[in-house]
């Protein structure tokens, strides 16, 4: 029995952290947030060189064929560094969906290019999870019409993977006729989001998505990745709060020696520490197709989002006025955690689902 990360997983995490601290320091993040997209593209190239685009692609299609625990480690490391790169949609959810439910042509067309970092697929499942603004798409005779909101990794994507209300998944080439892309500006400038308006656009169905099992797996994976991103980002916020409290002096002493501040930090640590174990456990449940894998994915996303909200608020407070400034830049982590919380279902929405999974409504 061993509950934890392997040496290989730990060294992957270290490699990503090192790459990001060398190549995506706060000044670079700020530049990206202020519109210097080419800097984000450089970082994106770097993570492709690290192999991150291929972790969920089977070896037979040129990928590394790693598991969800590896993917979780990566997502947590990217969250720590507020990495302005596509990952959760493009390199986890899309290849997982195509591997599980694509036909041979779709796999051959997309998987090797995903692994090689040549193609990015944006993923839009929000209509399946809970449609806002009357969004929704209809598939009829090979054509898709409608609107899809909050595509993950959808900006500048080469293709889109979209779900309809009944959980079928479709692939659309971004160069097809009839697509209008509108950028959605969220608080989190380290990642992008788009809205698609579709008018009879050519689409291919992933044939394996006639029942819900595939979209559920893709959704579980996406929720786990968002949870891991939040855990990584929250840990950095806590670490920064503790470090600041050991530098800043008031009333002639370090603010970290005041119980008011110590208890804020202890509360953050007490909530956050189990979340590391929780995301590993949820990943392992998905990897071993455990009976509770779906419930764990839901509860992990809901719980980690609550903890992330608390940590991001409290860590900002520990920094006092500085925490509120753009100069310190703590808000990049705060906003990243804020976006993760809402994507693919907010805690209340997901807990409702967790209740149904356990038959509480019967």
């Amino acid at each position: 029995m061993y509950f934890g990360l392997s040496e290989e997983q730990k060294s992957l995490e270290e490699n990503i952290s090192k790459f990001l601290s060398d190549n995506a320091p706060l000044d670079t993040i700020k530049a990206v947030a202020n519109g210097e997209e080419e800097k984000a593209e450089e970082i994106h190239k770097g993570i492709i060189e690290l192999g991150l685009s291929g972790i969920m692609v089977p070896e037979s299609y040129g990928g590394l064929e790693l598991n969800m625990l590896f993917a979780t480690v990566v997502s947590s490391a990217l969250g720590s560094g507020t990495a302005p790169v596509p990952y959760i949609g493009a390199y986890v959810m899309a290849p997982l969906a195509i591997s599980l439910a694509g036909d041979e042509d779709q796999k051959n067309e997309w998987l090797p290019k995903i692994a090689g970092g040549e193609k990015v697929i944006g993923v839009g499942l929000s209509e399946f999870v809970g449609a806002r603004e009357d969004a929704g798409i209809e598939f009829d005779k090979g054509k898709v019409t409608g609107r899809s909101l909050f595509l993950i990794d959808g900006k500048n994507a080469d293709a889109y993977l979209l779900a309809n209300k009944s959980g079928e998944l479709f692939l659309i080439d971004a160069s097809s006729k009839g697509i209008k892309v509108t950028e959605l500006v969220t608080v989190d400038k380290t990642r992008t989001s788009v809205e698609l308006t579709l008018d009879k656009v050519d689409a291919t169905l992933l044939p394996g998505t006639s029942d819900l099992s595939v979209i559920e797996k893709v959704l579980d994976a996406g929720r786990l990745m968002l949870s891991a991103d939040t855990v990584g980002a929250s840990q950095v916020m806590l670490d920064k709060a503790v470090a600041y409290s050991l530098e800043r002096k008031q009333f002639g002493r370090l603010i970290g020696s005041f119980q008011a501040v110590k208890h804020m930090c202890a509360e953050m640590a007490a909530e956050l520490e189990p979340c590391h174990s929780m995301i590993w456990h949820a990943a392992h449940s998905q990897d071993s197709s455990a009976e509770d894998a779906r419930l764990m994915a839901c509860q992990t996303k809901a719980h980690v989002s609550e903890v992330g909200k608390q940590v991001s608020k409290t860590a900002t407070e520990v920094h006092g006025g500085m925490g509120f400034t753009d100069e310190l830049g703590l808000h990049y982590w705060f906003k990243r955690i804020g976006l993760n919380r809402q994507l693919l279902g907010s805690p209340e929405l997901i807990r409702e689902e967790a209740g149904k999974l356990q038959g509480f409504d019967q």
């Binding site: 029995m1 061993y2 110590k262 640590a269 007490a270 392992h284 992990t300 809901a302 509480f360």
Partner: protein, 395 residues
């Protein structure tokens, strides 16, 4: 990541299951030290389901210290209504202390009857003016010939009305700094000069006592460790107490009962669990519990895999576990509404009043065993490396 215990443990698990099945009709009753309790306790020791790693010569089973086997025993016993092994402060705190720091005579004399449940111990630590700041305790111990003479007052002494023995902290070196002036003594409770007064709690029970000690004389050899080393001796056992509070596997059983309750209780004919806000509160508690269960697996793993660090994971267990349990019991009361306030033997009472009783009891545990504010000091200082509060002069 590997959550399998391995085939060699499957066999052990079926042995435990068989034992439980063969003994599922066993009933123990009556007060502490009743023969039925002692016989059952001895049977558990004989099979290695209790006192497993305590050497045979001191009355234990004499088995290997195999954490996974202990885990399996705990898991299977928790699933069954079969009587559990007796606990208490003698078993949980004194025995581990004597095993590591006691003299050979002390081990021979005290461990066996304590394990068997024949000898009950109480803990004489807290004093009216020394609670969270335990090391400031003032009860005096003076050596007079071959006897310690003890004078002072202790409080929050659990089971003192039943105990034959007390492990007590007293100040024997009044001129030494406060942490270096304390000794750890073993005091027979039938000594002259001990006055016990029960403290009635908010639950209505009296689990605790005050002890008034006037010229209590005990033999000089009744000391564990050296003079002035009592603080270190006591700290070795406080760790044992904190680890035993708020096990998430026990909380899981309570959550299952809460789910049943919310499916049975109705408001205007609608099940409580079908009310969205109640259901959301239930699920939020389940999410917190799942996080704590994952945390517990990491701690278990760190105990069997050398080099795996789980320091912070361990420090937070008491704080998180007691708060969650209090919250869980409180939700059950809210789910019952006015019915949730019923107590003692009122009509319409649910589950013998256990939800209210446990709700209040866990408030006691949030305070006891090192208050949760003290836990936050420990987490921030020992795990996060934050400084101690500056000392106030004269304290």
């Amino acid at each position: 990541m590997d959550l399998e215990y391995g085939p060699e443990y499957d066999e052990f698990r079926s042995e435990v299951i068989n034992f439980i099945k063969e003994n599922e009709d066993v009933k123990v009753s009556g007060p502490m030290r009743d023969e039925s309790r002692i016989n059952w306790q001895q049977k558990l020791i004989d099979h290695g389901y209790f006192a497993r790693s305590v050497p045979k010569e001191y009355g234990g089973y004499g088995g290997d210290m195999d954490i996974i086997k202990l885990r399996i025993i705990a898991e299977e016993f928790a699933k069954s209504p079969i009587p559990k092994a007796m606990g208490g402060q003698g078993i949980q705190m004194l025995v581990p202390t004597l095993l590591s720091l006691g003299t050979e005579e002390q081990k021979q004399q005290y461990i066996r009857p304590t394990l068997r449940g024949e000898m009950i111990w109480c803990q004489g630590y807290s004093e009216p003016n020394s609670g969270s700041d335990l090391a400031s305790l003032q009860t005096k111990g003076e050596l007079d010939g071959d006897e310690w003479v003890i004078n002072g007052q202790k409080i929050w002494t659990s089971t003192a009305q039943l105990a034959q023995m007390c492990f007590i902290l007293v100040r024997t070196e009044p001129d030494a700094p406060k942490h270096q002036g304390i000794s750890y003594l073993l005091m027979p409770m039938d000594s002259e000069g001990i006055d016990r007064r029960p403290i009635k709690q908010m639950t209505g029970d009296s689990d605790f006592n005050e002890l008034f000690l006037t010229d209590v004389r005990i033999p000089a050899e009744n000391i564990v460790g050296k003079r002035g080393e009592g603080w270190q001796v006591a700290n070795a056992t406080l760790g044992h107490e904190r680890g035993s509070l708020a096990d998430p596997n026990v909380t899981q059983n309570r959550l299952n009962s809460l789910i049943d309750l919310m499916k049975t209780e109705t408001i205007d004919g609608q099940r409580v669990i079908d009310k969205p806000i109640f259901r959301d509160r239930l699920l939020a508690i389940q999410g917190r519990l799942m996080a704590q269960q994952s945390n517990a697996l990491r701690i278990l793993s760190s105990q069997i895999n050398e080099g795996q660090d789980a320091t912070l994971a361990k420090f937070i267990v008491k704080l998180q576990g007691t708060e969650l349990r209090h919250e869980l019991e409180g939700l059950a009361i809210d789910a019952m509404g006015e019915l949730g306030t019923l107590y003692e033997d009122s009509p319409h009472l649910r589950d013998h009043g256990a939800w209210q009783q446990t709700y209040m009891y866990y408030l006691g545990l949030i305070i006891g065993g090192g208050t949760n504010q003290i836990q936050k000091n420990i987490i921030s200082e020992r795990a996060l490396g934050m400084p101690k509060e500056p000392k106030v002069q004269g304290a």
